[in-house]
């Protein structure tokens, strides 16, 4: 068994007990899962301890991406980097912070940070991506802007340099860069 981290869509599904419940699209292929939702957006990170059969079954789907099992592997320039950036941007996840040479451990931590912050704002009943990633924060409602700052404070993140004219992309990048040096305790393992 190997701990793997996937980026995959979420779906609204009826699991026989709960109607229209959001869950990871390919969760049923996994015998265990720990999901970090990207707020109300239809994507999530999934950590699962999988065998090769399960991993192959999940990766057979074109809308799934996986980090390598060895998170200390670095992101290669060229096509590998472009694939990651394009995948994230297509999911409305800011990706300009992803660079060649970055370890997947750092990548996963920062991506989880984006998801945690975005989900936290959702808990305050606001949707960050009501604005486009390249829109300034002051296009959000004042309450939504405030909710973002509240979540940053709750996560002990510095908001220095983030103003109303800062783009949502830049704000999320600034906040979540601070997760890079924080070990991520996720799914019962420390990443």
């Amino acid at each position: 068994m190997t701990v793997r981290i996937y980026l995959m869509p979420t779906i609204l599904a009826d699991n026989g007990r709960h109607l229209n419940m959001k869950r990871a699209k390919y969760r049923t292929l996994l015998s265990n899962s720990s999901v970090i939702h990207y707020g109300p957006e239809p994507y999530c990170m999934v950590l699962s301890d999988v065998d090769t059969t399960q991993h192959s079954a999940v990766m057979a789907n074109a809308d799934v991406r996986a980090a390598p099992a060895d998170l200390d592997t670095t992101i290669a320039s060229g096509a590998p980097l472009n694939t990651i950036v394009n995948t994230l941007e297509a999911a409305s996840i800011p990706a300009q912070w992803v660079v060649a040479g970055m370890s997947f451990r750092t990548f996963v931590r920062r991506l989880a940070g984006i998801f945690i912050v975005t989900q936290g704002v959702s808990g305050k009943k606001f949707r960050l991506l009501q604005a486009a990633l390249d829109d300034p924060l002051n296009t959000l409602s004042a309450n939504a802007h405030s909710a973002l700052l509240d979540i940053a404070t709750a996560q002990q993140l510095s908001t220095t340099g983030i103003t109303g004219s800062t783009t949502l992309r830049s704000a999320l990048t600034t906040l979540c860069a601070q997760f890079a040096t924080r070990p991520l305790f996720y799914g019962g393992v420390s990443l």
Binding site: R17, H18, M21, S33, V35, F185
Partner: protein
């Protein structure tokens, strides 16, 4: 500590129990436990409104297992619930605005009669344990306030002995642990000491008291102490009693804002060894009797290693001090060995040795800016010295 053994037969749960609200029905006590009022399958739950504890635990009694502890429940209703509705797996769900709207994770596991099911929060994580064994950990910080409670969907699902586990003096006491202690994502609050009387070969912790949700995470403690992602603020102390052979830390104080705390062992009897560590903190050892050994250690972001007194040896190998780091040794009696030591970022570091009585050995040491030396009385062998 808030708790309820549901002793009142067949009566609605009274205040401070509060129904989840929305479309959720209420709960009632029954002979030997608690169940939903309807007596048939229906969303039902209640939270203990006078508690803000980050833990909820029940003993499973009987019935189909669609239900379990609830946490961070509040107006909406919002929060989290556990369930083992399919009889083979445990799930953690998030409740948003009255709907069980998101599955956060699942793992193999079943409820066993008389055994505890617990849902607790540690930082951004929600951890489900069955009979004391952590079974499922999910990451979600959408709701972090609210109150602990209970969900009972199955009409015959009965639980008993609810508790929030937040005793005024909640403690984890281990009389003796022969070899090793591994702590991960442990949240220790002011009134919850972690006391270990004796740990024969690895580590002894006594009366650890850390306030307001820092994480003490030690992946493995056998001959090294590893602290990662410690978010310790002012006035929060980590006192460690005695570790006979490998590491002894006393009155270690972690201070300052999130990423600028210090690790200050006042006395280390024999050896402090840090290997392959990434330490984003300041380490000050007031006295180390025999040896301080750092291997493959990175101290980053303006941190420093300060030894006021080191009686015998300081050995640093493959140590990187980055960005304004300082290695400052006021006095070392016998030997300072530095190998493959890198000080990076010009003009912002200091190697200051006030007094070294016998030997200073530097091999493959790169100093990219000035080095301040004090007195060295006997020998100073330098190999591959680059300055």
């Amino acid at each position: 500590m808030a708790s309820d053994d549901f002793a009142s037969a067949n009566s609605p749960l009274a205040s401070p129990w509060t129904g989840f609200g929305g479309s959720f029905g209420n709960l009632r006590s029954t002979s030997g436990g608690c169940r939903n009022v309807a007596g048939s399958d229906a969303d039902a739950g209640a939270y203990y409104s006078s508690s803000s504890a980050q833990s909820s635990q029940v003993d499973y009694v009987s019935g189909s297992t669609d239900g379990g502890p609830a946490l961070n429940m509040g107006v909406g209703p919002d929060g989290y619930v556990d369930s083992a509705y399919n009889g083979t797996e445990v799930f953690t769900f998030r409740v948003d605005d009255g709907s069980v709207s998101a599955e956060l994770g699942h793992a193999t596991g079943v409820y066993v009669a008389t055994q505890a099911v617990r849902l607790r929060r540690s930082g951004n994580n929600l951890i489900t344990s069955l009979a004391g064994v952590d079974t499922l950990t999910v990451t979600d910080a959408t709701y972090t306030g609210g109150s602990p409670g209970v969900l009972c969907y199955s009409g015959d699902f009965i639980v008993d002995n609810w508790t929030d586990g937040a005793a005024g003096a909640f403690s984890l006491t281990i009389g003796q642990l022969s070899y090793a202690l591994s702590l991960q994502a442990v949240t220790l609050k002011a009134d919850r000491p972690l006391t270990i009387a004796q740990l024969s070969y690895a580590l002894t912790l006594q009366s650890v008291s850390m306030i307001a949700g820092p994480t003490l995470q030690a992946g493995q403690i056998s001959y090294a102490l590893s602290l990662q992602d410690v978010s310790a603020k002012a006035d929060r102390t980590l006192p460690i009693g005695q570790l006979s052979y490998a590491l002894s830390l006393q009155a270690v104080t972690t201070t300052g804002p999130a990423t600028t705390f210090s690790l200050s062992p006042e006395q280390i009897s024999y050896a402090l060894s840090l290997a392959d560590s990434l330490a984003d903190y300041e380490m000050s050892a007031a006295q180390i009797s025999y040896a301080l050994t750092l291997q493959d250690v990175a101290l980053i972001c303006g941190r420093k290693v300060t030894n006021d007194q080191l009686s015998y040896a300081l050995s640093l190998q493959s140590v990187g001090l980055f960005r304004g780091a300082a290695l400052q040794i006021d006095q070392i009696s016998y030997a300072l060995n530095l190998q493959t030591l890198g000080f990076v970022y010009v003009g912002s570091f200091t190697l200051a040795c006030e007094k070294i009585d016998y030997a200073l050995n530097l091999q493959q040491v790169a100093l990219l800016s000035s080095a301040n030396r004090g007195e060295i009385f006997h020998t100073l062998p330098l190999n591959w010295w680059t300055k």
